[in-house]
């Protein structure tokens, strides 16, 4: 059940508490615990009325607040001990201050994000002069790889593998030459297309493989360029043969 109700949204119980403190101009070091507990519970009730799912953190906080409230109501123990007696609210106050600090920093981050977004870097490098740039390394020309990428790759490899087991492959007679011609023809119409766009119309695995081989062959012959902008990003096939060459390309 997903209700899209525009209720003032809070990141979590701490955010909600900070809201009450700000709204009512409360002293964060001397939180009127009874009042704030009441407000907090009312908010939860409102969420319930609206049939919104209440994150368990809110429930946990509600019980914490009630515990603090109960402790505050207890008569103070003997006076000599008072110095060592910690205010039941101390832990919560500490947590609120810590959270408040990062909430404010997030505001700073937002400003930095804004400023940085006004800066643009160079966007196109295709015709930069570079010698001993090995064409075979094109596939290797990717961005830095993180551990997260490694894990994602692992997951992907296994997902693909299990898929393979499920589907029966109907053997068809596809030829790499036919696919090469098909790709060349498509590149005449559009000089660049993405992998996913290209494979959209291919449904049989064997044909995808044949088409893929065709792409590799074309790349080897330097008739096409294969490029990728981000790791795991879309891969593009680009025409690398010139206008006059296009007719000759048919003859491959």
């Amino acid at each position: 059940m997903k209700y899209k109700v525009k209720l003032p949204y809070f990141e979590g119980p701490l955010d909600l508490l900070l809201f009450f403190i700000k709204r009512d101009e409360l002293n964060i070091y001397d939180i009127p615990i009874a009042k704030i507990t009441k407000d907090f519970l009312e908010y939860i009730q409102l969420m319930q009325m609206l049939d919104l799912e209440i994150a368990s953190e809110f429930i946990v906080m509600a019980s914490t607040l009630m515990q603090i409230k109960a402790k505050m109501l207890l008569p103070k123990p003997n006076v000599e001990n008072e110095e060592e007696e910690e205010d039941p609210r101390a832990e919560l106050v500490k947590q609120l201050l810590e959270y408040k600090k990062f909430k404010e920093l997030a505001g700073e981050f937002e400003k930095m994000e804004d400023e940085a977004s006004k800066i643009y870097y160079r966007g196109y490098f295709k015709h930069d002069a570079r010698d001993y740039y090995d064409e075979n390394e094109t596939y290797e020309f990717l961005k830095d790889v993180s551990l997260f990428d490694l894990l994602t790759a692992f997951k992907k490899a296994f997902e693909n593998a299990s898929e393979k087991e499920v589907h029966e492959i109907e053997v068809q007679n596809y030829k790499v030459e036919d696919e090469i011609e098909n790709i060349i023809n498509r590149l005449k119409i559009k000089s660049r297309f993405s992998f996913s766009e290209f494979f959209e119309e291919y449904h049989e695995k064997i044909r995808i493989i044949v088409a893929f081989l065709a792409i590799l062959e074309l790349a080897r012959l330097k008739k096409i360029k294969i490029s990728q902008q981000d790791t795991f990003g879309e891969i593009f096939i680009e025409r690398a043969f010139e206008e006059q060459e296009r007719y000759a390309a048919n003859a491959i």
Partner: protein, 213 residues
């Protein structure tokens, strides 16, 4: 100082595709806050743009700059001069040395998690021949031969190296995230933090599974 010349310089510089005079003209004359010459709403012509590009290139030449705006079939773009190819080439060589392709990465991941593992076993998982990739990974010293399997044909077994740990900043193999951990990270649906509202509502509706293992 905003003037036509620097604006054109900025646009061509940042564009991720070559731009034609027509495209440049459209961007500059765009109805929403177009460029104005001396407070004048005169439209900028393609010739004006062409002149500005020529002027920029003249300045680059005078300054002995390493780049120019070049014209190719699709339009104008920046490029470094051929005489610097040797240096730019070094840059790319440095960078490509460190890179791993997606297939290489997948293979490396399989080896990392399943080591010691033989080539036939890797191929059974990946469904393709991995000869070339194994060779590359060996060359990059990310994997090494750790023995032979007892199975038929006694194929070589591969495992990861110290270099591998270094590459990923790990102290030991035990620091590798477990596949189950990635499951946890990845279990969330594909909804991403794209729009503020979407996320907040989505998150609000989500019951955390913090203690729920």
């Amino acid at each position: 100082m905003e003037n036509l010349k620097s604006i054109i310089e900025a646009i061509i510089f940042a564009s991720d595709v070559p731009l034609s005079l027509k495209q440049l003209k459209e961007i500059i004359n765009e109805p929403n806050k177009p460029f104005t010459k001396n407070g004048d709403q005169t439209k900028i012509s393609e010739q004006d743009i062409k002149n500005a590009i020529d002027e920029l290139n003249r300045e680059y030449t005078e300054r002995g700059s390493a780049f120019r705006i070049i014209e190719i079939a699709e339009g104008y773009q920046f490029a470094t001069l051929p005489e610097f190819a040797r240096w730019v080439g070094k840059l790319f060589k440095e960078r490509t040395k460190k890179k791993l392709s997606q297939p290489a990465l997948e293979t490396l991941a399989i080896i990392a998690y399943k080591q010691p593992i033989s080539k036939p076993e890797i191929e059974a998982i990946r469904g393709v021949n991995v000869d070339h990739i194994i060779k590359t990974l060996l060359e990059k010293k990310l994997i090494t031969i750790v023995g032979r399997a007892d199975t038929l044909g006694r194929p070589l077994l591969y495992g990861t190296t110290k270099e591998f740990l270094k590459y990923f900043g790990l102290k030991s193999l035990s620091e590798l995230p477990k596949p189950t951990e990635i499951e946890e990270i990845m279990q969330e649906d594909d909804e991403k933090i794209n729009s503020y509202i979407e996320v907040t509502e989505d998150e609000r509706e989500k019951i955390p599974k913090k203690n729920g293992k």
